[in-house]
């Protein structure tokens, strides 16, 4: 499996998509007179992370993809951003670093042995392909969806077009309702 062809575009487009969702969230806050913190500090449940942390963890997951597969240095943000510009900057930085990774760096990583150690002592042994399919992508989407759901829960008018906004590139001309 060509993990570069699978993972790199996936991460880049979803990182950009979350950036756009945050822009809509910021617009909603302005339109309705909400303080920035009302969205950034919002969470789905008391024991879940707030929006600012979910965004940081999205970037952490992107960093961990390259770190585990290629040995790249971590670019995970050290702290939560405190405004929308800061959140988008984290996402933009992650997307640029992912996109800049040449395919050659991924040579042989699908078969590479990955040792994934969790803070609680659990160790997972798997191949690079298993790591991407069974760990990295689900973890990445977990935090992406949490961020989306927080924004949606707070009233931001998001929908599937915002979740998969990259799909607009594939629309056959003339088939868009009203377009």
């Amino acid at each position: 499996m060509d993990l570069h062809a699978l993972a790199i575009p996936t991460y880049v487009q979803m990182l950009k998509g979350l950036g756009n969702q945050l822009t809509k969230g910021e617009a909603y806050a302005v339109e309705h007179g909400l303080a920035t913190e009302e969205l950034l500090d919002a969470r789905l449940a008391p024991d879940m992370f707030p929006l600012s942390t979910q965004v940081r963890l999205v970037c952490t997951q992107a960093s961990d993809l390259l770190r585990h597969l290629t040995g790249a240095d971590s670019f995970a943000p050290a702290e939560d951003a405190t405004d929308f510009d800061g959140l988008r900057a984290q996402l933009t930085d992650a997307a640029q670093r992912i996109q800049a990774t040449p395919a050659s760096v991924f040579d042989g990583v699908a078969e590479k042995t990955i040792e994934l150690k969790l803070p609680n002592g659990i160790v997972f042994d798997m191949t690079g392909e298993q790591f991407v399919r069974d760990w990295a992508l689900p973890q990445f989407y977990f935090h992406l969806m949490a961020a989306y759901a927080i924004l949606r829960h707070k009233g931001v008018a998001l929908g599937k077009p915002d979740w998969v906004s990259h799909m607009f590139a594939y629309i056959r001309p003339g088939t868009m309702p009203g377009g």
Binding site: A27, V30, G33
Partner: protein
């Protein structure tokens, strides 16, 4: 309708309670002051009216409102009318007063503002009122046409100040996203250095506008702030904040029954 008649009683060019700090908005170098509100409160259009009144004491003023440009003749008729019952009834026939999406732009507070502007125009305190909602085939075109209308509202007199009033989002020097495409908000097209962008912040309370549906809903706010214009810590994309200094009160539709309605297709 109590607010409407109250406004009629006090709204003259000589009765505008000054807003602390507002004078800095009206210096000669500024050609446009664009004020943004959260739609559907009583206090925010009233504060804009006070700012217009204060500006008109120092500069020739043209007011620009986020209303459909197609309804300019109806506004012109009302602004030059005696403001009596017949004139008001004709004015309220405009589609933007009666349409199904009552999002706060057709509120009693806006009707109060229209009456204040009528009186101000009659007394020569303001030069004119121009409508700036021209629409567009795309979100970007919608915003761009609004900016162009604000720019066009200014006449040849170099001292003229355009005081624009719209929802907060249009008044922000920034961007938004629609269908994955980033587009510029209206105020981003305004000349920097000649334009001041002001966000109104009201106290917590209620507002009548549209979120998942249209109606009265809670509105968060800044209840601990005194009424003033503050340049010290503007929100991103704005140059200043104008605090109402009061709790927010929902202002219901002026011409439709004040019932909650679902957004079309929502």
């Amino acid at each position: 309708m109590i607010g409407f008649f109250a406004a009629m009683a006090v709204a003259t060019a000589s009765s505008c309670p000054p807003v602390d700090g507002a004078a800095a908005l009206f210096t000669e170098k500024t050609k446009y002051v664009w004020v943004g509100e959260v739609h559907g409160t009583a206090e925010e259009p009233a504060l804009f009216g006070d700012l217009v009144c204060q500006a008109a004491a120092t500069r020739p003023v043209v007011v620009a409102l986020e209303r459909d440009v197609a309804e300019q003749p109806l506004w012109n008729a009302y602004l030059t009318s005696d403001g009596g019952a017949a004139a008001r009834a004709a004015f309220l026939q405009a589609r933007s007063w009666t349409w199904e999406v009552q999002d706060g732009r057709s509120s009693l507070a806006i009707l109060d503002l229209a009456e204040r502007l009528r009186l101000a125009k009659r007394e020569g305190a303001i030069k004119d009122v121009k409508l700036i909602l021209a629409g567009g085939a795309s979100a970007a075109a919608y915003e761009q046409s609004m900016a162009q209308a604000v720019l066009a509202a200014r006449d040849a007199d170099p001292r003229t100040l355009v005081m624009a009033f719209s929802g907060n989002l249009h008044a922000k020097r920034g961007e938004n996203v629609r269908q994955g495409e980033t587009y510029a908000l209206a105020a981003k097209a305004m000349p920097v250095g000649e334009t001041l962008l002001v966000m109104i912040r009201g106290g917590s309370g209620t507002a009548w506008n549209c979120r998942r549906d249209c109606g009265e809903s809670p509105r968060g706010g800044w209840s601990d702030q005194a009424r003033r214009v503050d340049f010290a810590n503007p929100p991103q994309g704005f140059d200043a904040v104008a605090y109402t200094g009061r709790s927010s009160t929902a202002s219901p539709p002026a011409a439709r029954p004040a019932t909650r309605t679902a957004l079309p297709g929502g």
